[in-house]
């Protein structure tokens, strides 16, 4: 019996390269940067799309037209924005701390981009299926507040400092309920790896997604993710009416663009992770195995595998962008909270709820191991 065909780009590519007579080590060396570049490009394109969506949806929410001259429906507007930021003068204030001022935005962006390492678009379609998976993302996202504090401090501006402090306080407070919500999912799937978490939700299509088993966890995670991304209603680190633009006040040109890019990459990443953790990842609402047998095809046939892999990518992106759409709508629906309300909400409401959710998941797992993962 032939081994079932699976979409494994690495094996395919390396096989192709090795036919030219190169050693396996050399083919591995050629392969390594490719998925990273691909994901980097995907992240940047994802940001461009999100910026365009944000402008168009915001305009629709306010009964405006929004960008419409740059390309059809203004689709090239984000590119124009990016180009403008690229050629703008890069100002470092005279009494700012030049070194920390430059390092701050870098420290904000790099962990976010690194976290794309663990986002799966299919069974083998991710950069690295590391065993600690989702824990790596939690650890990396905890580096971000250092960059925010750094840029707030280095700007030598009281609004910047206040913004940086607020961002750090918000980030540490909401990380704990976020981690507890993730822990409940990890407990159900017995693994930290993102691929295993999706596999555990793939039994019965729509019905086996984690959102039905973890409704509270889903809400807690989504609220905390919005707070970590500093999206409204939690955008007080850069609240315009109070702090000018928070820690970004003194930034211009490419350094500002890094903050901008970082916050949108983070939004898309959070949406993707909600998809992976709660909405079945690359899974189609109906099980693809069932669909294939309905059409009289073997699930292991090469053509079917290529089709299901493409369907997986489309489903992941579709679910993530639905969540991004929700985030943009929320921005124009809910007012900004005050800093004391924000901290009260995080520590006195979300944290106990997330803890109870974790305990309830553990109890349900012991009581119904078939449904909640044995």
């Amino acid at each position: 019996m032939p081994t079932p065909f699976t979409v494994d780009l690495e094996a395919g590519f390396r096989g192709l390269v090795e036919t030219t007579g190169l050693s396996p080590a050399a083919s591995r060396l050629i392969w390594l940067p490719l998925p990273m570049l691909l994901v980097l490009v995907a992240a940047v394109v994802g940001v461009l799309v999100t910026v365009w969506l944000e402008r168009k949806i915001s305009a629709a929410a306010q009964q405006r037209i929004g960008p419409e001259y740059a390309g059809a429906l203004g689709i090239l507007q984000p590119l124009a924005d990016g180009l403008k930021l690229l050629v703008k003068e890069d100002v470092i204030p005279a009494r700012a701390d030049g070194l920390l001022f430059t390092l701050g935005p870098v420290l904000v962006v790099v962990p976010v981009i690194l976290s794309w390492l663990i986002v799966p678009f299919g069974q083998h379609l991710l950069i690295s299926n590391v065993g600690i998976g989702i824990f790596l993302w939690i650890a990396l996202s905890s580096i971000q507040p250092i960059g925010l504090l750094m840029s707030g401090y280095a700007s030598n501006n009281k609004y910047s400092l206040l913004g940086g402090l607020r961002a750090a306080a918000q980030s540490i407070s909401y990380e704990i309920p976020l981690a507890l919500a993730v822990l409940a999912v990890v407990m159900m799937s017995n693994s930290l790896s993102t691929v295993d978490i999706v596999d555990q939700q793939s039994g019965a299509g729509l019905l086996s997604w984690n959102i039905w088993r973890q409704p509270v966890g889903f809400l807690v995670f989504w609220i905390c993710a919005l707070a970590e991304c500093e999206r409204l209603p939690f955008d007080l680190p850069e609240a315009e009416e109070e702090l000018v633009a928070g820690y970004q006040t003194e930034y211009a040109g490419m350094k500002f663009a890094l903050f901008y890019l970082g916050s949108y990459i983070n939004l898309v990443l959070s949406a993707l992770l909600v998809t992976v953790l709660y909405l079945g990842g690359w899974g189609f609402p109906l099980p693809v195995e069932w669909l294939a047998s309905l059409l009289g095809q073997s699930i292991d046939a090469p053509l079917v595998q290529v089709l299901t892999a493409s369907l997986g990518i489309v489903m992941t992106v579709l679910k993530a962008y639905l969540l991004v759409f929700t985030a943009i709508l929320l921005r124009w629906t809910v007012p900004r909270v005050r800093i004391d309300q924000l901290l009260d909400f995080g520590w006195k409401f979300l944290l106990p709820i997330a803890l109870v959710n974790l305990l309830a998941t553990a109890a349900l797992k012991l009581a119904f191991p078939a449904v909640f993962g044995g």
Partner: protein, 201 residues
């Protein structure tokens, strides 16, 4: 000739080790406390990198999460809330103090080097567990290391209660810092804002 993987490992190790050594020297020697705190974060990250080199990815991520994400951020937070940029006056007899402390440090270094060179290290050490390490760690925490694990959490709880008592001065009749009558509404009432220069009228 060493293989490509070994060579990469060696280069990464040298870079990380240099990061740890230079970074920790900077933490101790730099006069600006904010730079010291940021460099401390760099040292923690380099140590996490060393754990990664040893195939202990879970420990590395935990190191980043706890030391960089929590400890270092809180240190920075405290420094920036105080935010005093006044230069500190030199303590009397600074030269002698420096001489003494560098003597103590050199002695400690000598001791460590001696231990490192006289201990018969078993090389290569035990094989790394890789991904199974998480499971083994959990087993140890809930079996033979249960008591230290629980004691550590009690210690943290005590520290937390202590911090709350210190921060909420209204639980005392008099202020423990100044000895004045405690103002019961201290938390709600705003104190002098820290960011306004007091010399200004």
């Amino acid at each position: 000739m060493p293989s490509l993987a070994d060579l990469t490992e060696l280069i990464v190790f040298v870079l990380l080790a240099a990061g740890v050594v230079v970074g920790s020297l900077g933490v101790v020697l730099l006069p600006n406390i904010v730079y010291s705190a940021f460099l401390l974060g760099g040292v923690f990250l380099s140590v996490a990198g060393l754990y990664l080199l040893l195939n202990a990815s879970f420990i590395a991520a935990a190191q980043v999460l706890i030391y960089v994400g929590a400890v270092n951020v809180l240190i920075l937070f405290a420094i920036m809330l105080v935010n005093k940029r006044e230069p500190l006056a030199d303590a009397p007899g600074l030269g002698l103090r420096r001489l003494l402390s560098s003597g103590v440090c050199a002695g400690l270094l000598w001791l460590l080097l001696r231990v490192a060179y006289t201990t018969p290290w078993a090389t290569p050490g035990p094989t790394p567990l890789g991904e199974d390490a998480v499971v083994r760690l959990g087993e140890h925490f809930f079996t033979d290391y249960l008591l230290p694990f629980e004691l550590a959490s009690v210690l943290l709880l005590m520290a937390m209660i202590g911090a709350i008592v210190l921060a909420r001065r209204d639980v005392f009749a008099s202020d423990i810092g100044t000895g004045e009558e405690a103002d019961q509404g201290l938390i709600e009432k705003a104190r002098t804002p820290l960011l306004i220069e007091k010399s200004r009228p």
